[in-house]
Protein backbone atom coordinates (compact mmCIF):
# COMPACT_ATOMS: atom_id res chain seq x y z
CA UNK A 1 0.00 0.00 0.00
CA UNK A 2 1.50 3.33 -1.00
CA UNK A 3 1.89 6.15 1.47
CA UNK A 4 -0.65 8.42 -0.12
CA UNK A 5 -3.22 5.64 -0.37
CA UNK A 6 -2.64 4.84 3.29
CA UNK A 7 -3.17 8.45 4.22
CA UNK A 8 -6.27 8.63 2.06
CA UNK A 9 -7.73 5.56 3.80
CA UNK A 10 -6.81 6.98 7.17
CA UNK A 11 -8.70 10.18 6.49
CA UNK A 12 -11.69 8.27 5.16
CA UNK A 13 -11.54 6.10 8.27
CA UNK A 14 -11.70 9.15 10.52
CA UNK A 15 -14.71 10.43 8.59
CA UNK A 16 -16.44 7.07 8.86
CA UNK A 17 -15.51 6.81 12.54
CA UNK A 18 -17.25 10.12 13.21
CA UNK A 19 -20.51 8.76 11.86
CA UNK A 20 -20.08 5.52 13.79
CA UNK A 21 -19.39 7.50 16.95
CA UNK A 22 -22.60 9.50 16.66
CA UNK A 23 -24.72 6.42 16.01
CA UNK A 24 -23.06 4.43 18.75
CA UNK A 25 -23.70 7.32 21.15
CA UNK A 26 -27.40 6.75 20.62
CA UNK A 27 -27.08 3.06 21.38
CA UNK A 28 -25.04 3.87 24.45
CA UNK A 29 -27.80 6.13 25.71
CA UNK A 30 -30.45 3.46 25.38
CA UNK A 31 -28.33 0.89 27.12
CA UNK A 32 -26.95 3.24 29.75
CA UNK A 33 -30.26 4.69 30.84
CA UNK A 34 -32.58 1.74 30.36
CA UNK A 35 -30.46 -1.37 29.79
CA UNK A 36 -32.17 -1.62 26.42
CA UNK A 37 -30.42 -3.24 23.47
CA UNK A 38 -31.86 -1.35 20.55
CA UNK A 39 -31.65 -3.47 17.41
CA UNK A 40 -33.93 -1.07 15.52
CA UNK A 41 -31.48 1.84 15.82
CA UNK A 42 -30.00 1.17 12.39
CA UNK A 43 -33.46 0.65 10.91
CA UNK A 44 -34.34 4.15 12.07
CA UNK A 45 -31.03 5.28 10.60
CA UNK A 46 -32.04 3.95 7.20
CA UNK A 47 -35.52 5.37 7.61
CA UNK A 48 -34.00 8.81 8.20
CA UNK A 49 -31.82 8.31 5.14
CA UNK A 50 -34.92 7.49 3.09
CA UNK A 51 -36.71 10.54 4.45
CA UNK A 52 -33.75 12.71 3.49
CA UNK A 53 -33.71 11.19 0.00
CA UNK A 54 -37.50 11.56 -0.38
CA UNK A 55 -37.34 15.14 0.85
CA UNK A 56 -34.67 15.94 -1.72
CA UNK A 57 -36.53 14.03 -4.41
CA UNK A 58 -39.80 15.87 -3.82
CA UNK A 59 -38.61 19.39 -3.08
CA UNK A 60 -35.24 19.50 -4.76
CA UNK A 61 -33.83 21.17 -1.67
CA UNK A 62 -30.69 20.12 0.11
CA UNK A 63 -31.31 16.92 2.11
CA UNK A 64 -29.67 18.52 5.14
CA UNK A 65 -32.81 20.64 5.49
CA UNK A 66 -34.81 17.49 6.16
CA UNK A 67 -33.14 17.44 9.57
CA UNK A 68 -35.53 20.14 10.72
CA UNK A 69 -38.32 17.61 10.23
CA UNK A 70 -36.68 14.30 11.03
CA UNK A 71 -34.88 15.27 14.25
CA UNK A 72 -38.02 16.44 16.10
CA UNK A 73 -40.01 13.61 14.54
CA UNK A 74 -37.54 10.95 15.66
CA UNK A 75 -37.21 12.52 19.08
CA UNK A 76 -40.96 12.32 19.55
CA UNK A 77 -41.02 8.78 18.17
CA UNK A 78 -38.31 7.80 20.64
CA UNK A 79 -40.19 9.23 23.62
CA UNK A 80 -43.33 7.49 22.42
CA UNK A 81 -41.57 4.20 21.84
CA UNK A 82 -40.09 4.24 25.32
CA UNK A 83 -43.33 5.19 27.04
CA UNK A 84 -45.64 2.92 25.06
CA UNK A 85 -43.46 -0.14 24.39
CA UNK A 86 -40.21 -0.33 26.35
CA UNK A 87 -41.71 0.83 29.66
CA UNK A 88 -44.13 -2.08 29.52
CA UNK A 89 -41.40 -4.71 29.57
CA UNK A 90 -40.80 -6.39 32.90
CA UNK A 91 -37.70 -4.92 34.55
CA UNK A 92 -36.28 -8.35 35.39
CA UNK A 93 -36.07 -9.44 31.75
CA UNK A 94 -35.90 -6.01 30.15
CA UNK A 95 -32.58 -6.36 28.33
CA UNK A 96 -33.40 -9.69 26.71
CA UNK A 97 -36.95 -8.76 25.81
CA UNK A 98 -35.84 -5.42 24.40
CA UNK A 99 -33.79 -7.36 21.82
CA UNK A 100 -36.91 -9.18 20.65
CA UNK A 101 -39.09 -6.10 20.75
CA UNK A 102 -36.71 -3.85 18.86
CA UNK A 103 -35.92 -6.65 16.40
CA UNK A 104 -39.61 -6.68 15.55
CA UNK A 105 -39.61 -2.90 15.21
CA UNK A 106 -36.64 -3.15 12.84
CA UNK A 107 -38.49 -5.66 10.64
CA UNK A 108 -41.55 -3.43 10.70
CA UNK A 109 -39.60 -0.40 9.54
CA UNK A 110 -37.80 -2.36 6.83
CA UNK A 111 -41.12 -3.69 5.56
CA UNK A 112 -42.66 -0.25 5.66
CA UNK A 113 -39.82 1.31 3.67
CA UNK A 114 -40.12 -1.45 1.08
CA UNK A 115 -43.86 -0.97 0.87
CA UNK A 116 -43.72 2.79 0.41
CA UNK A 117 -40.59 3.25 -1.69
CA UNK A 118 -40.11 -0.30 -3.08
CA UNK A 119 -36.86 -2.25 -2.91
CA UNK A 120 -35.18 -0.14 -5.59
CA UNK A 121 -31.78 1.25 -4.66
CA UNK A 122 -31.82 4.99 -4.17
CA UNK A 123 -29.14 7.61 -4.23
CA UNK A 124 -29.24 11.34 -3.76
CA UNK A 125 -27.72 13.36 -6.58
CA UNK A 126 -26.45 16.70 -5.40
CA UNK A 127 -24.61 19.44 -7.25
CA UNK A 128 -21.65 18.76 -4.97
CA UNK A 129 -21.94 14.96 -5.05
CA UNK A 130 -18.94 14.49 -7.28
CA UNK A 131 -16.75 17.24 -5.81
CA UNK A 132 -13.60 16.52 -3.91
CA UNK A 133 -11.31 18.58 -1.78
CA UNK A 134 -7.58 18.09 -1.56
CA UNK A 135 -6.35 17.50 1.97
CA UNK A 136 -2.55 17.10 2.19
CA UNK A 137 -2.58 15.05 -0.97
CA UNK A 138 -5.63 13.00 -0.03
CA UNK A 139 -8.74 13.48 -2.07
CA UNK A 140 -11.83 13.71 0.09
CA UNK A 141 -15.41 13.73 -1.15
CA UNK A 142 -17.20 16.86 0.00
CA UNK A 143 -20.26 14.85 0.99
CA UNK A 144 -18.15 12.72 3.34
CA UNK A 145 -16.74 15.85 4.90
CA UNK A 146 -20.21 17.34 5.36
CA UNK A 147 -21.38 14.09 6.95
CA UNK A 148 -18.44 14.12 9.32
CA UNK A 149 -18.95 17.74 10.36
CA UNK A 150 -22.63 17.02 10.93
CA UNK A 151 -21.86 13.96 13.05
CA UNK A 152 -19.11 15.72 14.96
CA UNK A 153 -21.23 18.77 15.70
CA UNK A 154 -24.14 16.62 16.89
CA UNK A 155 -21.88 14.56 19.09
CA UNK A 156 -20.44 17.76 20.55
CA UNK A 157 -23.92 19.10 21.23
CA UNK A 158 -24.93 15.84 22.86
CA UNK A 159 -21.84 15.93 25.03
CA UNK A 160 -22.55 19.49 26.14
CA UNK A 161 -26.17 18.63 26.88
CA UNK A 162 -25.15 15.66 29.01
CA UNK A 163 -22.40 17.39 30.95
CA UNK A 164 -23.68 20.93 31.36
CA UNK A 165 -27.46 20.89 31.55
CA UNK A 166 -29.80 20.03 34.39
CA UNK A 167 -31.37 17.36 32.22
CA UNK A 168 -27.92 15.91 31.51
CA UNK A 169 -27.15 15.67 35.21
CA UNK A 170 -30.48 13.95 35.81
CA UNK A 171 -29.77 11.53 32.99
CA UNK A 172 -26.28 10.69 34.24
CA UNK A 173 -27.61 10.25 37.77
CA UNK A 174 -30.29 7.88 36.44
CA UNK A 175 -27.64 5.85 34.63
CA UNK A 176 -25.38 5.64 37.65
CA UNK A 177 -27.91 4.86 40.37
CA UNK A 178 -31.56 4.81 39.45
CA UNK A 179 -33.02 4.50 42.93
CA UNK A 180 -30.78 7.20 44.37
CA UNK A 181 -31.80 9.41 41.44
CA UNK A 182 -35.46 8.91 42.31
CA UNK A 183 -34.69 9.78 45.91
CA UNK A 184 -33.22 13.17 45.00
CA UNK A 185 -36.46 13.88 43.15
CA UNK A 186 -35.55 12.96 39.57
CA UNK A 187 -38.48 11.51 37.62
CA UNK A 188 -36.48 8.65 36.15
CA UNK A 189 -39.29 7.44 33.87
CA UNK A 190 -39.45 10.83 32.24
CA UNK A 191 -35.69 10.99 31.94
CA UNK A 192 -35.67 7.54 30.33
CA UNK A 193 -38.25 8.66 27.78
CA UNK A 194 -36.30 11.79 26.90
CA UNK A 195 -33.06 9.79 26.78
CA UNK A 196 -34.62 7.41 24.30
CA UNK A 197 -35.83 10.32 22.19
CA UNK A 198 -32.34 11.76 22.22
CA UNK A 199 -30.92 8.42 21.09
CA UNK A 200 -33.33 8.24 18.20
CA UNK A 201 -32.51 11.82 17.25
CA UNK A 202 -28.90 10.70 16.69
CA UNK A 203 -30.28 8.14 14.22
CA UNK A 204 -32.05 10.97 12.39
CA UNK A 205 -28.84 12.96 12.08
CA UNK A 206 -26.81 9.88 11.18
CA UNK A 207 -29.31 8.82 8.54
CA UNK A 208 -29.19 12.19 6.85
CA UNK A 209 -25.42 12.13 6.88
CA UNK A 210 -25.47 8.64 5.43
CA UNK A 211 -27.91 9.57 2.68
CA UNK A 212 -25.49 12.18 1.34
CA UNK A 213 -22.98 9.57 0.36
CA UNK A 214 -24.56 6.12 0.16
CA UNK A 215 -26.81 4.07 -2.02
CA UNK A 216 -29.71 3.05 0.19
CA UNK A 217 -32.13 0.13 0.11
CA UNK A 218 -34.60 -1.21 2.70
CA UNK A 219 -32.46 -4.02 4.14
CA UNK A 220 -29.32 -1.91 4.41
CA UNK A 221 -29.73 -1.59 8.17
CA UNK A 222 -28.58 -5.18 8.74
CA UNK A 223 -25.11 -4.07 7.64
CA UNK A 224 -25.07 -1.55 10.45
CA UNK A 225 -26.41 -3.59 13.35
CA UNK A 226 -23.31 -5.76 13.75
CA UNK A 227 -20.68 -3.03 13.55
CA UNK A 228 -22.60 -0.70 15.88
CA UNK A 229 -23.18 -3.43 18.47
CA UNK A 230 -19.50 -4.35 18.26
CA UNK A 231 -18.51 -0.72 18.79
CA UNK A 232 -20.54 -0.26 21.95
CA UNK A 233 -19.28 -3.53 23.43
CA UNK A 234 -15.64 -2.71 22.64
CA UNK A 235 -16.15 0.80 24.02
CA UNK A 236 -17.69 -0.45 27.25
CA UNK A 237 -21.47 -0.40 27.41
CA UNK A 238 -22.78 2.86 28.75
CA UNK A 239 -19.69 4.97 28.15
CA UNK A 240 -20.09 7.74 25.58
CA UNK A 241 -16.38 8.66 25.29
CA UNK A 242 -15.50 4.97 25.29
CA UNK A 243 -17.77 4.29 22.35
CA UNK A 244 -16.48 7.37 20.54
CA UNK A 245 -12.91 6.10 20.83
CA UNK A 246 -13.91 2.58 19.80
CA UNK A 247 -15.87 3.98 16.85
CA UNK A 248 -12.83 5.92 15.64
CA UNK A 249 -10.43 3.02 16.04
CA UNK A 250 -12.71 0.53 14.30
CA UNK A 251 -13.76 3.02 11.62
CA UNK A 252 -10.14 3.68 10.74
CA UNK A 253 -9.35 -0.03 10.94
CA UNK A 254 -12.19 -0.87 8.59
CA UNK A 255 -11.14 1.78 6.13
CA UNK A 256 -7.52 0.56 6.09
CA UNK A 257 -8.46 -3.10 5.73
CA UNK A 258 -10.82 -2.26 2.91
CA UNK A 259 -7.91 -1.28 0.69
CA UNK A 260 -6.17 -4.65 1.04
CA UNK A 261 -9.03 -7.09 1.44
CA UNK A 262 -12.16 -5.45 0.05
CA UNK A 263 -15.38 -4.40 1.76
CA UNK A 264 -16.66 -7.78 2.85
CA UNK A 265 -13.55 -8.86 4.69
CA UNK A 266 -13.05 -5.45 6.23
CA UNK A 267 -16.41 -5.91 7.97
CA UNK A 268 -15.09 -8.93 9.85
CA UNK A 269 -12.88 -6.56 11.82
CA UNK A 270 -15.92 -5.65 13.92
CA UNK A 271 -16.71 -9.23 14.78
CA UNK A 272 -13.11 -10.05 15.55
CA UNK A 273 -12.95 -7.00 17.81
CA UNK A 274 -16.20 -8.11 19.44
CA UNK A 275 -14.93 -11.62 20.14
CA UNK A 276 -11.56 -10.44 21.38
CA UNK A 277 -13.23 -7.94 23.69
CA UNK A 278 -15.57 -10.53 25.13
CA UNK A 279 -12.69 -12.93 25.69
CA UNK A 280 -10.11 -10.52 27.04
CA UNK A 281 -12.01 -7.60 28.56
CA UNK A 282 -15.76 -8.23 28.73
CA UNK A 283 -16.37 -4.88 30.41
CA UNK A 284 -15.09 -3.18 27.24
CA UNK A 285 -11.73 -1.57 26.66
CA UNK A 286 -12.87 1.75 27.94
CA UNK A 287 -15.37 0.38 30.47
CA UNK A 288 -14.37 0.29 34.10
CA UNK A 289 -12.98 3.71 34.86
CA UNK A 290 -14.51 5.59 31.96
CA UNK A 291 -17.83 3.80 31.98
CA UNK A 292 -20.86 5.93 32.74
CA UNK A 293 -18.80 9.04 32.49
CA UNK A 294 -19.47 11.65 29.87
Amino acid sequence: MSGSLLFQSLVLGVLLGGLYALLAAGLTLYFGVMRVVMIAHSAFLILAAYLAWYFNDQTGWDPLLSLFVTVPLFFAAGVGMQRLLIARLRPATLTMMSVLLTFAVALLIEGMIGLIWSGTQRRIQLPYSGSNVEFFGASIAVVKLVAFVLAGASLGLLYLLLTKSRFGRALRATIQHKEAAQLVGIKTDRVAGLGFGLGLATAAVGGTALALDATIYPSLHWHWVGPLMAIIVVGGLGSVPGTAIAAMVLGIGQSLLQVEFGTTWAQTLFYIALFVTLMVRPQGFFGGRLAQRF
Binding site: R172, Q176, G185
Partner: protein, 258 residues
Amino acid sequence: MASEPQPGPPAPLLVLDAVEAGYGRAAMVLRGLTIEVPPGTVVCLVGPNGAGKSTVLKVASGLLKPRSGRVLVDGQDVTGQGPQAMLASGLAHVLQGHSVFREMTVGENVLLGAYTLRDKARIAERAEFVRELFPIVGERWKQLAGLLSGGQQKQVEFARSLMVDPKVVLLDEPSMGLDPKTTATVFEQVVRMRDAGTAVLLVEQNARRALETADLGCVLDLGRVHISGPAPELLADPQLSELYLGGRPAEPSRPRES
Protein backbone atom coordinates in the same frame (compact mmCIF):
# COMPACT_ATOMS: atom_id res chain seq x y z
CA MET B 1 -52.91 15.93 65.92
CA ALA B 2 -52.17 19.65 66.06
CA SER B 3 -49.03 20.78 67.84
CA GLU B 4 -49.83 22.70 71.00
CA PRO B 5 -47.41 24.84 72.95
CA GLN B 6 -47.95 22.93 76.17
CA PRO B 7 -45.70 20.45 77.93
CA GLY B 8 -45.95 16.84 76.93
CA PRO B 9 -44.63 14.95 73.97
CA PRO B 10 -44.43 17.14 70.86
CA ALA B 11 -46.43 16.09 67.80
CA PRO B 12 -44.42 13.54 65.80
CA LEU B 13 -42.93 14.65 62.48
CA LEU B 14 -43.42 11.29 60.85
CA VAL B 15 -46.08 8.73 61.62
CA LEU B 16 -46.54 5.37 59.99
CA ASP B 17 -49.93 4.18 61.08
CA ALA B 18 -50.93 0.51 60.82
CA VAL B 19 -48.96 0.12 57.60
CA GLU B 20 -49.18 -3.07 55.59
CA ALA B 21 -46.80 -3.47 52.67
CA GLY B 22 -45.07 -6.11 50.57
CA TYR B 23 -43.42 -6.78 47.23
CA GLY B 24 -45.32 -8.08 44.23
CA ARG B 25 -47.45 -11.11 44.98
CA ALA B 26 -45.14 -12.29 47.74
CA ALA B 27 -46.30 -12.39 51.36
CA MET B 28 -46.75 -9.15 53.27
CA VAL B 29 -43.55 -7.80 54.82
CA LEU B 30 -45.10 -5.18 57.08
CA ARG B 31 -48.21 -6.32 58.90
CA GLY B 32 -49.83 -3.39 60.61
CA LEU B 33 -46.74 -1.54 61.72
CA THR B 34 -46.99 1.73 63.65
CA ILE B 35 -44.00 4.01 64.24
CA GLU B 36 -43.66 7.65 65.29
CA VAL B 37 -40.65 9.93 64.88
CA PRO B 38 -40.81 12.97 67.19
CA PRO B 39 -38.84 16.10 66.27
CA GLY B 40 -35.22 16.29 67.35
CA THR B 41 -34.82 12.59 67.95
CA VAL B 42 -33.00 9.64 66.50
CA VAL B 43 -35.36 6.68 66.29
CA CYS B 44 -33.74 3.36 65.63
CA LEU B 45 -35.36 0.26 64.19
CA VAL B 46 -33.67 -2.98 65.09
CA GLY B 47 -34.64 -6.57 64.53
CA PRO B 48 -33.64 -9.74 62.76
CA ASN B 49 -33.13 -10.09 59.02
CA GLY B 50 -36.42 -10.10 57.19
CA ALA B 51 -38.23 -8.21 59.94
CA GLY B 52 -39.04 -5.51 57.40
CA LYS B 53 -36.70 -2.74 58.56
CA SER B 54 -35.67 -1.51 55.12
CA THR B 55 -39.24 -1.84 53.88
CA VAL B 56 -40.36 0.67 56.52
CA LEU B 57 -38.01 3.24 55.02
CA LYS B 58 -39.09 2.46 51.46
CA VAL B 59 -42.71 3.07 52.41
CA ALA B 60 -41.78 6.31 54.13
CA SER B 61 -39.81 7.64 51.15
CA GLY B 62 -42.37 6.58 48.56
CA LEU B 63 -40.27 3.92 46.83
CA LEU B 64 -42.90 1.37 47.86
CA LYS B 65 -46.61 2.06 48.11
CA PRO B 66 -48.25 0.57 51.21
CA ARG B 67 -51.25 -1.73 50.69
CA SER B 68 -53.04 -0.23 53.66
CA GLY B 69 -52.40 2.12 56.55
CA ARG B 70 -51.34 5.76 56.48
CA VAL B 71 -48.15 7.80 56.29
CA LEU B 72 -48.31 11.23 57.93
CA VAL B 73 -45.69 13.96 57.74
CA ASP B 74 -46.24 16.80 60.16
CA GLY B 75 -49.88 15.76 60.45
CA GLN B 76 -50.39 15.73 56.67
CA ASP B 77 -51.53 12.52 55.04
CA VAL B 78 -49.02 11.66 52.29
CA THR B 79 -49.88 7.99 51.89
CA GLY B 80 -49.07 6.48 48.50
CA GLN B 81 -47.15 9.44 47.07
CA GLY B 82 -44.03 8.88 44.98
CA PRO B 83 -40.45 9.72 45.97
CA GLN B 84 -40.53 13.21 44.52
CA ALA B 85 -43.61 14.21 46.51
CA MET B 86 -42.25 12.59 49.67
CA LEU B 87 -39.04 14.55 49.27
CA ALA B 88 -41.06 17.74 48.92
CA SER B 89 -42.95 16.87 52.10
CA GLY B 90 -39.65 16.63 53.94
CA LEU B 91 -38.53 13.02 53.88
CA ALA B 92 -35.05 12.21 52.56
CA HIS B 93 -33.85 8.63 52.21
CA VAL B 94 -30.26 7.41 52.27
CA LEU B 95 -30.12 3.92 50.78
CA GLN B 96 -28.32 0.88 52.08
CA GLY B 97 -24.84 0.24 50.70
CA HIS B 98 -23.20 2.73 48.38
CA SER B 99 -25.53 5.02 46.51
CA VAL B 100 -23.33 7.93 45.47
CA PHE B 101 -23.28 8.72 41.78
CA ARG B 102 -19.88 7.14 41.37
CA GLU B 103 -18.75 8.82 38.19
CA MET B 104 -19.65 12.31 39.33
CA THR B 105 -17.69 14.58 41.61
CA VAL B 106 -18.59 14.99 45.26
CA GLY B 107 -19.80 18.47 44.43
CA GLU B 108 -22.08 17.26 41.65
CA ASN B 109 -23.46 14.61 43.99
CA VAL B 110 -24.24 17.07 46.73
CA LEU B 111 -25.77 19.58 44.34
CA LEU B 112 -27.96 16.87 42.83
CA GLY B 113 -29.43 16.57 46.32
CA ALA B 114 -30.92 19.98 45.60
CA TYR B 115 -32.28 18.84 42.22
CA THR B 116 -35.82 19.85 43.18
CA LEU B 117 -34.78 23.29 44.44
CA ARG B 118 -34.66 26.21 42.01
CA ASP B 119 -33.55 29.06 44.24
CA LYS B 120 -29.78 29.45 43.60
CA ALA B 121 -29.11 31.41 46.78
CA ARG B 122 -30.89 28.78 48.83
CA ILE B 123 -28.87 26.00 47.19
CA ALA B 124 -25.61 27.79 47.90
CA GLU B 125 -26.66 28.31 51.50
CA ARG B 126 -27.52 24.63 51.95
CA ALA B 127 -24.27 23.57 50.27
CA GLU B 128 -22.35 25.75 52.71
CA PHE B 129 -24.30 24.20 55.58
CA VAL B 130 -23.58 20.59 54.63
CA ARG B 131 -19.93 21.33 53.95
CA GLU B 132 -19.65 22.66 57.45
CA LEU B 133 -21.48 19.68 58.92
CA PHE B 134 -19.40 17.18 56.93
CA PRO B 135 -15.96 18.76 56.41
CA ILE B 136 -14.78 15.86 54.24
CA VAL B 137 -17.38 16.86 51.66
CA GLY B 138 -15.79 20.27 51.26
CA GLU B 139 -12.28 18.82 51.16
CA ARG B 140 -13.11 16.33 48.42
CA TRP B 141 -15.53 18.57 46.51
CA LYS B 142 -13.84 18.15 43.12
CA GLN B 143 -13.00 14.45 43.36
CA LEU B 144 -14.97 11.61 41.84
CA ALA B 145 -17.32 10.27 44.50
CA GLY B 146 -16.72 6.64 43.49
CA LEU B 147 -13.05 6.94 44.47
CA LEU B 148 -13.72 7.90 48.10
CA SER B 149 -13.58 5.38 50.93
CA GLY B 150 -16.80 3.76 52.11
CA GLY B 151 -17.14 6.02 55.13
CA GLN B 152 -16.51 9.15 53.09
CA GLN B 153 -19.08 8.07 50.52
CA LYS B 154 -21.61 7.69 53.33
CA GLN B 155 -20.97 11.25 54.39
CA VAL B 156 -21.45 12.45 50.81
CA GLU B 157 -24.78 10.62 50.81
CA PHE B 158 -25.73 12.23 54.12
CA ALA B 159 -24.80 15.64 52.76
CA ARG B 160 -26.78 15.02 49.57
CA SER B 161 -29.87 14.03 51.56
CA LEU B 162 -29.66 17.14 53.74
CA MET B 163 -29.60 19.58 50.81
CA VAL B 164 -33.39 19.90 50.81
CA ASP B 165 -33.41 20.54 54.57
CA PRO B 166 -35.63 17.53 55.27
CA LYS B 167 -37.75 17.19 58.39
CA VAL B 168 -36.81 13.55 58.77
CA VAL B 169 -33.91 11.72 57.19
CA LEU B 170 -34.24 7.97 56.72
CA LEU B 171 -30.97 6.08 57.06
CA ASP B 172 -30.80 2.47 55.93
CA GLU B 173 -27.88 0.61 57.53
CA PRO B 174 -25.36 3.44 57.38
CA SER B 175 -22.67 1.31 59.04
CA MET B 176 -22.94 -1.53 56.54
CA GLY B 177 -19.54 -2.68 55.36
CA LEU B 178 -17.62 -0.10 57.37
CA ASP B 179 -14.80 -0.80 59.79
CA PRO B 180 -15.37 -0.06 63.51
CA LYS B 181 -13.58 3.27 63.50
CA THR B 182 -15.48 4.53 60.47
CA THR B 183 -18.70 3.22 61.97
CA ALA B 184 -18.06 5.35 65.03
CA THR B 185 -17.58 8.42 62.81
CA VAL B 186 -20.77 7.69 60.92
CA PHE B 187 -22.76 7.41 64.14
CA GLU B 188 -21.22 10.69 65.32
CA GLN B 189 -22.49 12.25 62.10
CA VAL B 190 -25.95 10.89 62.79
CA VAL B 191 -25.95 12.69 66.15
CA ARG B 192 -24.70 15.86 64.46
CA MET B 193 -27.53 15.67 61.95
CA ARG B 194 -30.02 15.41 64.79
CA ASP B 195 -28.41 18.28 66.66
CA ALA B 196 -28.56 20.35 63.48
CA GLY B 197 -32.34 19.98 63.57
CA THR B 198 -33.16 16.95 61.46
CA ALA B 199 -34.96 14.00 63.01
CA VAL B 200 -33.53 10.64 62.04
CA LEU B 201 -35.18 7.29 61.43
CA LEU B 202 -32.36 4.79 61.50
CA VAL B 203 -32.34 1.14 60.49
CA GLU B 204 -29.44 -0.91 61.77
CA GLN B 205 -28.18 -4.43 61.83
CA ASN B 206 -25.57 -3.26 64.27
CA ALA B 207 -28.31 -3.03 66.89
CA ARG B 208 -26.39 -2.37 70.08
CA ARG B 209 -24.21 0.34 68.61
CA ALA B 210 -27.26 1.97 67.01
CA LEU B 211 -29.30 1.97 70.21
CA GLU B 212 -26.40 3.60 72.02
CA THR B 213 -26.73 6.47 69.54
CA ALA B 214 -30.52 6.61 69.31
CA ASP B 215 -33.02 8.32 71.57
CA LEU B 216 -35.85 5.91 70.91
CA GLY B 217 -35.78 2.33 69.75
CA CYS B 218 -38.27 0.00 68.14
CA VAL B 219 -37.71 -3.71 67.92
CA LEU B 220 -39.30 -5.13 64.79
CA ASP B 221 -40.25 -8.72 64.33
CA LEU B 222 -42.35 -10.28 61.59
CA GLY B 223 -43.46 -6.95 60.24
CA ARG B 224 -44.72 -5.45 63.48
CA VAL B 225 -43.25 -3.37 66.26
CA HIS B 226 -42.47 -5.89 68.94
CA ILE B 227 -41.29 -3.52 71.67
CA SER B 228 -40.57 0.19 71.63
CA GLY B 229 -39.29 2.70 74.14
CA PRO B 230 -36.36 4.93 75.06
CA ALA B 231 -33.18 3.42 73.69
CA PRO B 232 -31.33 3.15 77.04
CA GLU B 233 -34.22 1.12 78.48
CA LEU B 234 -34.15 -1.28 75.57
CA LEU B 235 -30.42 -1.65 75.98
CA ALA B 236 -30.80 -2.41 79.66
CA ASP B 237 -33.44 -5.09 79.14
CA PRO B 238 -31.64 -8.42 79.59
CA GLN B 239 -34.22 -10.46 77.73
CA LEU B 240 -34.14 -8.15 74.75
CA SER B 241 -30.37 -8.22 74.74
CA GLU B 242 -30.38 -11.96 74.58
CA LEU B 243 -32.92 -12.10 71.76
CA TYR B 244 -32.06 -9.23 69.46
CA LEU B 245 -28.85 -7.54 70.47
CA GLY B 246 -26.60 -10.55 70.42
CA GLY B 247 -25.53 -11.10 74.01
CA ARG B 248 -25.56 -9.54 77.45
CA PRO B 249 -25.51 -5.77 77.91
CA ALA B 250 -22.20 -5.93 79.74
CA GLU B 251 -20.44 -7.09 76.61
CA PRO B 252 -18.56 -4.31 74.88
CA SER B 253 -20.15 -3.21 71.68
CA ARG B 254 -18.66 -4.49 68.50
CA PRO B 255 -19.78 -3.87 64.95
CA ARG B 256 -21.11 -6.82 63.06
CA GLU B 257 -21.13 -7.44 59.38
CA SER B 258 -24.61 -7.56 58.03
